[in-house]
Every structure is written in structure tokens, then in C-alpha cells.
Amino acid sequence: MLNGIPLHWFLLVAAALFCLGLFGALARKNAIAVLMGVELMLNAVNINLLAFWRYVNPAGTGGLAFTAFVFIVAAAEAAVGLALIISVYRNTQSIDPEKLDQMKL
């Protein structure tokens, strides 16, 4: 209990955010929007990591270190994913993931 906010509030919000991100990642028709959904999911993970760090083990650094790692992963994922999308768009003039059904461009 941390000044009146119980842990499960944070976990519920993170769960809702994760499910919204999942919906975005699976249901959007635009590849960039799919990546936005993935970013939302990573943020939900970060909220969980920091919430457990703060409530359960603030003396340790595991939650913090892995949050930092998720930051890096998110940045690298966005960079590579968007570069791929730009490249695909340049070759096919489309960023609808459903239309990309060929192995070669």
C-alpha cells in the first residue's frame, strides 16, 4: 500500500493498456499503427516492472535495470520496424500488412 494506491490498480491499468496494444497490433490495417500497438504493450510491461519494483523489492535494482532494457528494446524495435516499413513502402507503394503476401518484393 503506497499512499492509498494499491498495487492491483497499477496492474489492472497495465493489463488494460496491454490488451489495447494487442488489439492495435493485431487489428490495424496500417503497419505503422501495428508498431504503435506494440509500443503500447511495451509501456504496459514497463508499468508492471516498476510497480513490482516499488511495492515488492525497492531495495533491489532488477525492476529498474529491466525497465531500462525495455526502453532500449523499444527504441531498437521501433527503429528497425519503421525502417522496414519505409523500405517496403518504397518498393510496393503500400503499407498494408495484409497485402504483403509475397516473399520477394
Binding site: 490495417k29 505503422i32 515488492v56 529498474l64
Partner: protein, 238 residues
């Protein structure tokens, strides 16, 4: 209601509202802006969790860097007007996400079912332990905890440099970033026109086509030649 609870609820509403708009808005630039709003609310959540360093890092990394990448990508891939923002499986995906959230909510809500204890107890039983017991031991909210939380960034820094703790993680993340950036530069770079695969295959097809035309023409010439020669010889006979 305490002040922190009110702040939490406001942040929750903005966060989930903005996230819902991110996944449904048709205009991608607006979706990127809503994404920024949700990042900002997540930074507020970090402040409530007393991780100030990560709140600022959220601003720096997510809003200052990743959102900019997203907006640049949106600008670079224009001309793809969307009639519908969602694909054909959207309904099924929505139902699945809702079910998933319902399951998570049931698990996470502490009373009256306390399913988390059931599940964790079940895991313990599977691993040969005993059923029951508190799943998480919360730390008390006293001066010691406050001091520990306050110098968390310093301890994180010490842990990141130490191979006994997270030094390997630091180097791994450095390598990941490096590889990611090199890969993206390689993929996104504009090459000379004959260098892209599409152009290369096109050029190859062109070359094949030309070769075929050429050989056909040669064959025709070759076929025409004896006839001509014959005609010439006939003419010579006259």
C-alpha cells in the same frame, strides 16, 4: 479520496482513452499524437511509482525519440489513404482482447476470489511445495523505504557497471542498439537505382527480353538470308 488516488484516476482515464484512440483513429498523424499523450500519462504513472528518473527517461526516449521516428515514418509513407483503419479480423481480435483483459482482471482483483493465490499455490504444488501463502510481500511504507527509493538511480548506475549484476545487460543493450541502428540504416538507405532488388529484377527481365528479341531477329535474318540469296541467284540467272 487522497490526492494521489485522484491523480492516478485522472492519469488512468487519459492513458486508456488516448490508447483507445491510438488503435482506432484513421489519421495516422493524430494516432501518433495520441500515442504521445499516452506516453505522457505513463510518465505520470512512473512519478506515482516514485521512479522519477524513468519518468524523465520516458519523456526523453519515448516522446523525444521514438515518437519522432513514428512521425517521420508517417510522413515518409504518405499516399496510402485508408478507407477503414481496421482490418477484417478486427471483430475477432476485439473479442479476444476483451476476454484476455477479463481473465487478467479476475486474476488481479484481490477480493473476493483471490485467484492469484489459487494459481500461485497451484504452481507451488506442481513444483513440489505446499499450497497457500501470500504471493507477494509488500514493503512497509516508512523512512527506510523512502531512502532506498530515493537513491534508486544511483544503485541502478552502480549495478549497470557491475558484471556481477547487470553489466552484461548494459553491454548487451549497447550491442542491440548498435545492431538495430546499423540494420535500419542498411534497410532504409536510398540506394542507386539499379541497386534495389525490384529494379535489379526488372533490369534482368529487360535484359532477358532484349536478348530474346535479338535472337529472334537474328533467326529471322538467318531465315531470310537463304531466300534472299536464292532470289539474288535467280536474278543473276536472268
Amino acid at each position: 479520496m487522497e490526492v494521489s488516488q485522484i491523480v492516478f484516476l485522472i492519469l488512468t482515464v487519459t492513458l486508456l482513452g488516448a490508447a483507445a484512440l491510438v488503435v482506432t483513429t484513421k489519421n495516422l498523424f493524430h494516432a501518433a499524437l495520441y500515442l504521445i499523450v499516452s506516453f505522457f500519462s505513463v510518465a505520470g504513472m512512473y512519478v506515482l511509482l516514485e521512479a522519477g528518473f524513468f519518468a524523465a527517461a520516458q519523456l526523453l526516449v519515448y516522446i523525444g525519440a521514438i515518437s519522432i521516428l513514428f512521425i517521420f515514418a508517417v510522413m515518409l509513407t504518405r499516399g496510402t489513404a485508408l478507407i477503414t483503419p481496421l482490418n477484417s479480423q478486427a471483430g475477432a481480435v476485439g473479442v479476444m482482447s476483451a476476454i484476455m483483459f477479463a481473465i487478467l482482471a479476475v486474476f488481479l482483483w484481490p477480493a473476493p476470489i483471490r485467484l492469484q493465490e489459487v494459481i500461485l499455490g497451484g504452481f507451488r504444488l506442481l513444483r513440489g511445495g505446499t499450497y497457500g501463502g501470500e504471493p507477494w510481500q509488500f514493503v512497509p511504507n516508512n523512512a527506510d523505504t523512502a531512502a532506498v527509493v530515493n537513491n534508486a538511480t544511483l544503485r541502478l548506475g552502480a549495478a549497470l557497471g557491475d558484471f556481477a549484476q547487470y553489466g552484461a545487460l548494459l553491454l548487451l543493450s549497447g550491442a542491440l542498439l548498435l545492431v538495430g541502428v546499423i540494420g535500419s540504416i542498411w534497410v532504409a538507405r536510398e540506394r542507386k537505382i539499379a541497386d534495389t532488388r525490384a529494379d535489379r529484377s526488372e533490369a534482368a527481365a529487360d535484359a532477358r527480353h532484349e536478348a530474346q528479341l535479338e535472337s529472334e531477329a537474328e533467326a529471322r535474318e538467318a531465315a531470310a538470308l537463304p531466300a534472299g540469296a536464292h532470289a539474288a541467284s535467280v536474278e543473276g540467272q536472268h
